[in-house]
């Protein structure tokens, strides 16, 4: 049994890259000690006047989620950065957040929930879940408050009162998840802007939550 007094701590590594590179990221990460991961399809936004005018400002992205212990995460992030050059503009971003508890991964097992450590946190990850079609407004609201962009993921889900049936098919309302990274001091402004614009306070309009980010690669001021 591992020594419980020696907390290892786990991190969720999240990498956002252009479509088609996700599998390569996963492959490289596995070489450096990460045992597995999940790839999602998302949509990113780009800032370019011309493209915005012609309404072709969407770009397909892949999001790779991987859980591992802190040491491996740090090492893997360095290796990934070297290979995929996140530090250059438009090559993608990567960040890690704390994971409290993990079940079902043989390579990182833990018996107790580990408190997230304090320390100097520079960035926050803001996750907003809204009805399908509203993600654009979330991004707009966030940009107004100083955010640099975001990633949209299609999803399905519902609150306790929402599942219903049409004909013989059970349906679940479609949602969109918006993932935004923000500097610590801008987080409150962004969250407030989204909250006011989309009336998140009222029931049924969506949820927002904020997580601390430990490490980032590929973000610019």
């Amino acid at each position: 049994m591992p020594n419980h007094s020696n907390h290892v701590g786990f991190e969720l590594v999240c990498v956002i890259v252009d479509f088609g590179i996700g599998s390569k990221v996963l492959h490289t990460a596995k070489k450096h000690g990460i045992s597995g991961g999940t790839v999602l399809l998302g949509k990113g936004t780009i800032k370019n006047r011309l493209l915005e005018f012609f309404a072709i400002d969407d770009i397909r992205k892949e999001i790779v989620l991987m859980v591992t212990n802190k040491e491996t995460a740090k090492e893997a992030l360095v290796q990934l950065d070297q290979k995929f050059k996140f530090s250059k503009p438009n090559h993608g971003i990567a960040f890690t957040t704390d994971v409290g508890h993990i079940v079902g991964s043989s390579s990182c097992s833990s018996d107790e929930i580990i408190e997230s450590r304090g320390g100097d946190i520079m960035y926050h990850a803001i996750t907003v879940i809204v009805e399908k079609g509203n993600a654009e407004f979330v991004i707009d609201a966030a940009n107004e408050a100083g955010s640099k962009g975001g990633t949209i993921i299609n999803a399905r889900g519902s609150g306790i009162h929402e599942t219903s049936k049409l004909f013989s098919m059970e349906i679940e309302p479609e949602k969109e998840i918006v993932l935004i990274l923000s500097e610590k001091d801008k987080t409150e402004g962004i969250v407030n802007s989204i909250k006011n614009k989309l009336k998140i306070d009222e029931p049924g309009n969506g949820i927002i939550f904020v997580q601390n980010v430990n490490q980032t690669v590929g973000l610019y001021k």
């Binding site: 252009d18 479509f19 996700g22 599998s23 045992s35 597995g36 991961g37 999940t38 790839v39 999602l40 399809l41 780009i46 370019n48 493209l51 012609f54 309404a55 072709i56 400002d57 969407d58 770009i59 892949e62 991987m66 859980v67 438009n90 993990i102 079902g104 991964s105 043989s106 390579s107 079609g133 654009e136 399905r156 599942t163 049409l166 004909f167 013989s168 098919m169 059970e170 349906i171 679940e172 309302p173 479609e174």
Partner: protein, 503 residues
């Protein structure tokens, strides 16, 4: 600018192979007329630009409209709305499809006006409308696709017994002709819009495909019924194959431009009107979103017009010329090999194929990669064109000698392959036979038929599209089998371990 570059790259990879093959043929087996060659290269350039713009347009224009319509139809929760909306949508979209009018015109000609162009256009459109209504009802009532397809093809086989051989070719061609570059993305999006709401994600994934396949059986059944009712068992007229090669370089392009623009406006009009009606009644989108869709429709129009002008003015005559001169070579092996290679590279440049492969990748979250699907399609269509040429070379070989075993195999495969691939495969049959095949490859086959003694341009010309619509059914279902075998073997190796590690 990254988006533009990546889209351009995708299109370059699609169009360059066919350009390269034709140039290679020019310098080896079939030297082409200088003017033809220059026009071909200009055509290829226009196609590259047109296809890129078109694909953007579909992404932000046609697909969102189709998806939202599918969604609002299903949300009505009333069967009669689903049926009537399906019937109407299918009817007006296919009646505006330029390919259907061309096919109907040919049928009018070969039956010496016994079956008029108008009647065939209307009957086929009703057929497609009815089947789209059934297809939508299937999705909302969770009826498995393979069961419905089995019933539909049983009806087709039964009707085929009473259909004359010539009309057999025309009716199967109709299935390919009616699912054109505009209809396919729209029908695909319609199905996706309904099925994306499903709670069961496996079911939702499967039901995103299959509606194109169901719609195209509507066209087959409609033409067969017309033939049985009118009892036209002889083709009396003849297709006049006059092609006096124009000597000017830009002339054909300028000649095609207004004609095609008109056709595409008519084809897009029903989609625009439907969108405006739905927007008023149920979508109620923000002006920003409407603006985006308006741009999408504009891109779709510009892209498709450029693409078709390039194909018609730049590629068609080259197809005839290659077909003729290769078929007159002594060794008949050449024409078969060239047919295979041309089929292989042509399907890559087919607009609807790009739309379908992207949708497959999106729906399966990248599990089924588009290159794999594209590769199987290429092999399938290559074989289809080669088999069509063999049919012209061997007098005794008839179309049903291919179609009967072909459809028997693909229907049997339905019961073994993963059900997701059944939908993908049957959809891709309608998708592969788009404008590129219908002009370039058809011209090639007709050119070859002219040069071969004893071949009838008319009878042998029909049926080629039917083959292109058939072989992908088998090719992609075989791909499904391979996927199944692969995932089984990795499960056996260390399923538990693997599951535990991919958190």
């Amino acid at each position: 600018m990254h988006v533009l570059v990546s889209k351009l790259k995708e299109v370059l990879f699609a169009v360059l192979p066919i350009t390269f093959i034709v140039l290679l043929l020019n310098f080896t087996l079939t030297p082409l007329d200088g003017i033809l060659l220059i026009r071909f290269i200009i055509g290829a350039l226009i196609i590259i630009i047109g296809l890129s713009i078109f694909l953007f347009g579909v992404d932000i224009g046609i697909t969102p409209i189709g998806q939202m319509m599918g969604k609002s139809i299903a949300k009505s929760n009333k069967l009669w709305i689903v049926l009537i909306a399906g019937l109407l949508l299918g009817f007006i979209i296919s009646i505006a499809e330029p390919d259907l009018h061309i096919l109907a015109g040919q049928v009018d000609l070969v039956t010496s006006g016994l079956i008029s162009k108008e009647s065939i256009v209307i009957v086929v459109s009703i057929g497609i409308g009815a089947l789209i209504a059934i297809g939508l009802a299937r999705i909302v009532y969770n009826v498995p696709l393979y069961k419905l397809l089995a019933i539909l093809y049983f009806i087709i086989f039964a009707l085929a017994i009473f259909t004359s051989p010539e009309f057999l070719a025309i009716s199967f061609d109709a299935s390919g002709a009616t699912t054109g570059a505009l209809t396919v993305p729209f029908i695909l999006a319609l199905a996706l819009g309904v099925s994306a709401m499903k709670k069961d994600s496996k079911q939702s994934e499967m039901d995103s495909f299959g509606l194109v396949a169901i719609a195209s059986t509507g066209a087959i059944i409609a033409v067969m019924i017309m033939n049985i009712v009118y009892q036209t068992d002889k083709m009396t007229g003849s297709l006049d194959m006059h092609h006096d090669f124009s000597k000017s370089i830009f002339g054909p392009f300028l000649h095609e431009l207004p004609k095609i623009s008109g056709e595409i406006i008519i084809a897009l009009l029903p989609i625009i009107i439907l969108f405006l009606v739905f927007q008023k009644v149920s979508f109620k989108m923000s002006s920003k979103a409407v603006r985006k869709i308006a741009f999408g429709l504009l891109f779709t129009f510009m892209g498709l017009v450029l693409f078709l002008v390039g194909v018609n003015a730049g590629f068609m005559e080259v197809g005839i010329a290659i077909g003729q001169s290769i078929a007159s070579l002594d060794s008949k092996a050449y024409v078969i090999i060239v047919a295979f290679v041309l089929g292989l590279v042509t399907v890559m440049a087919e607009p609807a194929v790009h739309v379908l492969t992207h949708q497959i990748e999106d729906v399966t979250s990248g599990y089924v990669k588009r290159n794999v699907v594209m590769f199987s399609l290429c092999i399938g269509v290559g074989l289809a064109v080669a088999l069509s040429v063999i049919r012209i070379l061997v007098p005794g070989l008839q179309l049903w000698h291919y179609l009967l075993p072909g459809y028997a195999i693909s229907l049997a495969l339905m019961y073994f392959v993963p059900k997701l691939f059944v939908g993908i495969a049957f959809d891709s049959g309608g998708v592969a036979s788009g404008p590129m095949t219908a002009t370039f490859i058809l011209a090639f086959v007709q050119g070859a038929a002219e040069a071969i003694d004893g071949a009838n341009v008319l009878i042998d010309g029909f049926g080629m599209i039917a083959m292109v619509a058939l072989t992908p059914l088998i090719a992609l279902q075989v791909l499904g089998l391979i996927f199944q075998l692969k995932s089984k073997s990795t499960l056996k190796k260390g399923g538990v371990e693997k599951d535990a590690q991919s958190f």
